[in-house]
Amino acid sequence: MSKKSDMTTGATEARVDFVHALKDAGLTAALAFALFLPLIGFLTVQDFSNNLVLVTRWPLLFLIVAVIAAGRLGYSLVLAPRRAARARKPSATKTPAWRAFAGQWFTPFAIGFVIVYPPLVIMTAGWGGAVKWLDNFGIQILIYIMLGWGLNIVVGLAGLLDLGYVAFYAVGAYSYALFAKEFGLSFWILLPIAGCLASFWGVLLGFPVLRLRGDYLAIVTLAFGEIIRIVLVNFVDLTNGYAGISSIPRPTFFGIPFTANDDGFAATFGLEFTPLYRTIFLYYVILALALLTAFVTLRLRRLPVGRAWEALREDEIACRSLGINTTNTKLTAFAMGAMFAGFAGSFFAARQGFISPDSFTFMESASIVAIVVLGGMGSQIGVAIAAIAMIGGTEIMRDLDFLKHIFGPTFDPTQYRMLLFGFAMVLIMIWRPRGLVSTRDPSVFLKERKSISSDLVGEGHG
């Protein structure tokens, strides 16, 4: 009897819920319609006499509104009750065994994989097809992993949001390009010089602003990044402005150039010439640089300065009351981060052979920040995974030809890259504010190493 009455109340509840959900979905649809009416409902195009005219896109608008309404309905009917049920149950706190196992073996496996990646690619894709996989998917991603790790020192460890990081990348790139062209110095001599110069600029720009609070600091670094870009554009005598610097000398294999000549790499080692040797060499160079960044970061975290960074991120006032010189601590983080950006920049210039201010816009900074934020501030593996997902994802999007069949020949999936970046940043802040990989291994521990759920640390307060 009681069971039956329970069932009936359950049924009425479900029906009421359904009506409520329908109403909710209708409201959402109305809202979405009003929201997207101007920008999606109408398209401004130029007609033949170059006047702007409006074209309507009702099907697209109604499609989007319908998708949103259906999504909302699905959420309130299926997902929300499930979530409520899960919230009622006490959740298990113990980490599953497979995760501990994965955590232990993931890093050595990943490093092993990236080392054998070039031969693996050549074996599977052949000498001709390997260029794309090594250059677009290997070197490109590794540059962003390195930049992400470098910025991770500033954002993830020291908790300073730097929106002008690409400025230091630009300093590295331009210093390599200019020194190599004007003085004919080699890549290996210029790499540390570029790093030092970027680091010097980091200190120079950082010194006056590091007293500022978190969000002010972010905006000022953005302003500095833009100032450097504007100077690069307008200081035409030095940087050649928008046209950029071309035919930058390429790196050599300890003095042996990668050319088809008799003194080239292939001839010296008695191999058949292929341009792929340079790509493989560059791949290992950037891999070594990226691993150096990770290694230095890991080591620094154990030094007093690294611990001071993390303490600073957690609570600046407590830090100051314990006698930590916050300005110096922030400055070292800034300089370290800038140095690695300088390394990456000079590698970038050497790899491209051409640089222009277009490569160093705010959007580039924002992408690097997005990678660090999505990966989990402070987590090396997380940043690497985010860089692979975002940069590799962009490269994959370029190849998705079947989308052109669905959406028409003018459809270009790469346009949606930054759209997705921005959307992902918002989502990740709401859903997992600590990023995808949010557990931290403490760098200093007593007796036993315990993983700390990042929910327990109040990062960024202060």
Binding site: P38, F224, A370, F423, I430, G460
Partner: protein, 305 residues
């Protein structure tokens, strides 16, 4: 001297647009302590909405009266932009209110990237330009063959800005909503205890901020007649500079800061270098934050444990 006068007129016009955007930054910062990084892009969205409304009225409905068109465009832009900002606040900022300190800023940066790319994807990457809405000018005086002029559109910008600022001042100073806003600014928990709906007040702040940005957007469209998806970033940073210069959290400060930034920019372009005009505004931002972080009219920022 005559060039100086002309630049003064240009600077005040530009400054009123910056001032209107700057109020949005300063209000939001005052009430929830967050730098609304996406505000510049909300402004850009409002320019697009105004553009579409204008084209709708002129090419579809064939309205030829400039005054009526401008009025309707202004209203439409305000309503739709307010809606956009309301939704943004609900979706991207409200869930983060208890999160760590950089979370809302990062979310706002994400929103800013999203908005500019959304407009790029939906409206195309090219500059959108329309023929000038208002033509003609007053010639104030002529000296050494140089005419100092006050174009009608500048006059419209000044009048609209002044009138709407007065309305807005009334709203904040005299109405219950304004009182609630000022209460939330001082102490949100206490305001909630005395019966103020804090969430609603914050939503209304975003709505008002967006409406002011939409006024700026309409004026911008009328003045320049050209817009692209990337046009939110630089005015956004400059308006933020204005808010900081005036003292963030202070409403008269934002307006005066905006005028100052407009004047600095036009004078700099005229007397120093037009290529580096953005450098001037960005340097003002850095210098203000370093040497005068509380701005001209702001209260000093007291650090509490």
């Amino acid at each position: 001297m005559e060039v100086f006068f002309q630049q003064l007129i240009n600077g005040i016009t530009l400054g009123s647009i910056y001032g209107l955007i700057a109020i949005g930054y300063t209000m939001v910062f005052g009430i929830i302590g967050m730098v609304n990084f996406a505000h510049g892009d909300v402004f850009m969205v409002s320019v697009f909405i105004a553009l579409i409304a204008f084209l709708f009225l002129v090419t579809w409905l064939g309205i030829s009266s400039i005054a009526l068109t401008l009025f309707v465009v202004l209203i439409v832009a305000m309503v739709f932009t307010a809606l956009v900002n309301w939704v943004i606040e609900r979706v991207a900022y409200r869930p983060l209110r208890g999160s760590f300190r950089l979370a809302p800023l990062i979310s706002a940066i994400g929103m800013s990237i999203f908005l500019s790319n959304f407009v790029q994807v939906t409206q195309g990457p090219r500059n959108k330009s329309i023929s000038p809405m208002v033509q003609g000018e007053f010639v104030l005086f002529t000296k050494n063959d140089f005419q100092v002029t006050l174009p009608y559109k500048y006059l419209i910008i000044w009048i609209v800005t002044a009138v709407l600022l007065a309305c807005f001042w009334y709203l904040v100073a005299k109405t219950p909503l304004g009182r609630a806003q000022r209460a939330c600014e001082q102490d949100q928990k206490m305001a909630a205890l005395v019966g103020i709906d804090v969430d609603r007040t914050i939503s209304m702040t975003f709505v008002i901020a967006a409406a002011l940005a939409a006024i700026a957007g309409t004026m911008y469209l009328m003045n320049y007649g050209v817009v692209s998806f990337a046009d939110g970033f630089t005015p956004g940073v400059k308006a933020f500079t204005a808010a900081v210069l005036g003292g963030i959290g202070s409403l008269p400060g934002a307006v005066i800061g905006g005028l100052l930034i407009g004047l600095i920019e036009t004078m700099w372009s005229n007397y120093v270098s037009i290529d580096y005009k953005d450098v001037a505004a960005f340097s003002v931002l850095a210098i203000t934050l370093i040497f005068l972080p509380q701005g001209l009219f702001g209260r000093p920022d007291v650090e509490k444990v």
